[in-house]
Symmetry: C2
Amino acid sequence: MPTSTVENYLKTIHSLADGKDTKHLVPVGKVAEHLGLTPGSATTMMKHLEQAGYVNYAPRKGVRFTREGRTAARKVLRRHRLIELFLVEVMKLDWSQVHEEAEILEHAFSDRLIERIDEMLGRPDYDPHGDPIPDQNGVMPARDLIPLPECPEGKCQLVRVTREDPETLRWLQQRGMTPGARFDLVSKNELAGVFAIVTSAGQSISIGISLAECLWVAKKRGV
Amino acid sequence: MPTSTVENYLKTIHSLADGKDTKHLVPVGKVAEHLGLTPGSATTMMKHLEQAGYVNYAPRKGVRFTREGRTAARKVLRRHRLIELFLVEVMKLDWSQVHEEAEILEHAFSDRLIERIDEMLGRPDYDPHGDPIPDQNGVMPARDLIPLPECPEGKCQLVRVTREDPETLRWLQQRGMTPGARFDLVSKNELAGVFAIVTSAGQSISIGISLAECLWVAKKRGV
DNA sequence: GTTCTGATTTTGATTAGTCAAAATCTTTTT
DNA sequence: AAAAAGATTTTGACTAATCAAAATCAGAAC
């Protein structure tokens, strides 16, 4: 069993490699930055992870997962995301708070409990933020999503929110902008980096580019 | 916040001091034995616990809680026991398995989640083993219980089981001997160390002294 | 083709927790 | 009262994870 520290490194590498192809190298410095640690700490850990067979480590170039590493990382993501959904659905915790809780609980829940949760929730494919939940084998449900800046103006539906800080999430929540919400993208000002939308409740809001990049909408078929 | 290691030491000291009066000294060796550690490790930790204000440590005599230590220990017990009840009532895990799970989860659940569980369960006083659940201030609900060996022959009701190994618990469970069960103590052979009972289902079973000491029944009023 | 810059790695130290085994103290036995 | 027995403490060493700061390397700039 990996320690919880190792699990956190695996999650970080997974998220930094997300979307990139298999041989993409994640810079060690990015790993350190993402975890709020010094670069030296990450370097030390990369050697351990290589020893343990989780990654291939090219000094001064970066790291990439082995098959085992990717699977191990996805097991952690599976736990994290099932726990988030459980906290919202069963424990009735607030959408904006569950990430923090799951961050700790993911290292403590046994496989038995995770299996029970998966069953209770009806083997869900997505968590409350719209993040895909890997199955027991680490296979992720696939979807064609685009971030708001790439979306054409007009009606669309929010599917995934890739932010975790409770303040931002609460701000979105108060405006009805949680996964599943329909809204109207009325204008895009790429130069100013501002996106204007009207929510289904009729409220007009402006969203900056950095937040807009975290809001994913379904890509229309045939586009 | 105490580390989970410290929390485990606190729980151990609490259970070894249970029943004894406030100035009773718990031998350091017992603490080590209970946790499956070497005596030297426990000695080292006792100094840390004293530094942290949790215990008074009399070298070669033993340790006893300060007020803060006792409260801290009971907070851990509260978490542990609420989690056990939650796992049985909400997650439908087996009575015999929940102790093991709670042993790990108790260090990971936030106060917010524990409060939510307490609320969901209707602020319960006892866990599935009949162990009292301390309130937020560390106050334990009191009851007058006696272990089976001290119980007179006749009808009685099982209230608490102070064992945690799943094998024994399953054995008891299969015979209907879980907290709340009524049964008949038909004979006590203190010399042989064997207690004969008949369960409410009419099954006759023999129980050895060491297990009998872990089975607690309500002390009749006026006796 | 040097030099500079920025990222990465190395080195040495630190903390929490642990063990094995030697040293020490206390209590019991004789 | 001395010796033996038993428990506890001390000592030295180890692991996992971390940081600060010095050393090193690779690519960009000149």
